[in-house]
Symmetry: C2
Subunit: 213 residues, 2 copies
């Protein structure tokens, strides 16, 4: 068994340590976040740190690193507190990864990565047309993390857009029907295959595998 | 296309809304968090909200809901600020899901779910023997989220334990070698299949697929 302690971590270059720690927590969702600046420039950034905060109200969070390419997203949200979250599906994996390149603020990743802008209903932030599960959200507030200068952004879901048949009758969204992918570390992409759904767990009650639909 | 707006969300039962919003963000990592109370009782809880905060220092966060079964984890960490994080692998999916049942604080999920406790080096929190990628961490501080009464816990990685061959020469951990799984929503489990790793993205440079090893 390999043991990686603090001494080992400290001996690594920053890049190697980033690769190691980024791949430690397991699979992450791959999402493209769309924003718009005050002057109307669109921006896309690849984010793998989204986490569920609650369903009532529908809240989630994600992490912004101001010293990286995601700073344009933070700057845009401070001016215009609206964003879109667009699942990366198998078909656009390479285009989505290209959105993590460091483009100047006035260059739109939509153009550079050959992804199409879409505007849905009255939402002012740009959606990714090719994405099959996407939602509009409002940026509520930011939490500064002094330990490393990052920011956790708290957001509320406003409206969700997807094909009818992704939603099961019990309101579960089957992301495998949309070929949504996962990411591990900074650059490994993963296909998702449903094992199935398990029944609600209770003490002293046997679990059942529900239909995998 | 199905449009789910706030009116639709408000019309749902709490359970249906929880299923919908929990499955909205995409795939999540499935981890068992091990803690120990002051009196020495061990506790395991299934957590799918872990997110990467930074590599230097090696920080991550996760969300605790005090009105659910995860409150034992929070209570233990306030007394004893040490925890383990254990990847759920394919072989223990059902046992890990069973750990989400609401057991009393003095009942150990290790016993109830037939998972073996392991103690590694000097770390005082209990590891899951069956887990193939696991790490010890220290609970640093908590951030209260007044919008819904949850807490974000900030933790630092202390030491990582896994098989030698999961770690590539560039310090990337290949979680697919450990049959780590993903979870979507509250109860759908997902196998992960590597598509490959993509080269570092730069403006005006073509991406390459690296060896999938």
């Amino acid at each position: 068994m390999k043991v990686i302690d603090k001494e080992y971590l400290n001996s690594l270059s920053n890049q190697d340590r980033a690769r190691l720690i980024n791949s430690l927590l397991g699979v992450k969702s791959a999402n493209l976040i769309g924003t718009q600046s005050k002057s109307g420039s669109t921006n896309l950034s690849m984010v793998s740190s989204l986490f569920h905060l609650g369903a009532s109200p529908a809240l989630f969070g994600f992490v912004i690193r101001p010293d990286t390419v995601t700073r344009d997203t933070l700057n845009n949200l401070r001016e215009h507190p609206y964003l879109t979250v667009n699942h990366v599906c198998d078909e656009i994996t390479e285009k989505a990864h290209q959105a993590s390149a460091r483009y100047p603020a006035d260059i739109s990743e939509f153009n550079e990565c050959l992804l199409n802008v879409d505007y849905l209903d009255k939402h002012i932030a740009p959606f990714v047309k090719e994405s099959k599960i996407k939602f509009a959200a409002k940026f509520i507030r930011e939490i500064s993390i002094p330990e490393n200068g990052t920011h956790i952004l708290i957001c509320e879901v406003l409206a969700i857009f997807m094909a009818d048949d992704y939603l099961d009758e019990d309101q579960f969204i089957d992301i495998t029907k949309a070929s949504s992918i996962g990411v591990s570390g900074l650059d490994q992409y993963l296909k998702l295959e449903a094992i199935g759904r398990l029944s609600y767990a209770k003490p002293n009650k046997n679990l059942k595998w529900l239909k995998p639909f």
